[in-house]
Symmetry: C2
């Protein structure tokens, strides 16, 4: 599984309309990309590691697909519409990355003692 | 739902041992953090937007939790063990961010025509 991530750096003086992004842009992206995409998420930065500090990114969108080719086939026909919507919510130039995604099993119930070993 | 992300920037001249990270460090993190964590993923950077270009990040780890407090309660007792393992796979200083996570519904089967409207 691959993940296509779209990073919006948290830049001083830039604008990012999280309401528009979450209520208009991302639902439109999920709809336009269609079934090639297995999951669609958006992260809105809250803080850095310490509470109250600035997050490195204002937002990050992520799309998982079976392959980068699958994503590109779905994305290219709608790229103009999606990219044309960006000025409606931000003036930050997004950075895009394609990664290989690995999911790890989480601890089963009753295994909490591993925390204190 | 919140997401704690750990970003390793892809820096020229730095090392990142993806095999160790995926086979030793991340499974250890999933085990030590225990049930406070709802999902654990790791991304290994493949490329930027265009095939063959350098990705912005060598790797990104992500942990989803009900709240930042839940994460910190699970993380603090094991922080030394997890952070002490970092030199075993990289010399990149990680950047940590806490975000609010939103998942979007994907297009249902049979709705592929939205792609070409």
């Amino acid at each position: 599984m691959i993940k296509v991530s779209v990073f919006y750096r948290n830049q001083s003086g830039s604008r990012f309309d999280a309401d528009y992004y979450l209520s208009v842009h991302m639902p439109m992206a999920a709809k336009l990309l269609g079934r090639a995409v297995k999951s669609v998420t958006a992260e809105i930065g809250v803080s850095g590691e310490a509470p109250g500090t600035q997050p490195a990114f204002a937002a990050i969108a992520a799309f998982t697909c079976d392959s980068a080719d699958d994503f590109l086939r779905a994305f290219m026909p709608v790229a103009d519409r999606l990219q044309g919507d960006i000025p409606n919510y931000t003036d930050i130039e997004p950075v895009i990355q394609i990664s290989n995604l690995t999911e790890f099993p989480i601890a089963p119930a009753g295994n909490a003692d591993v925390k204190s070993r």
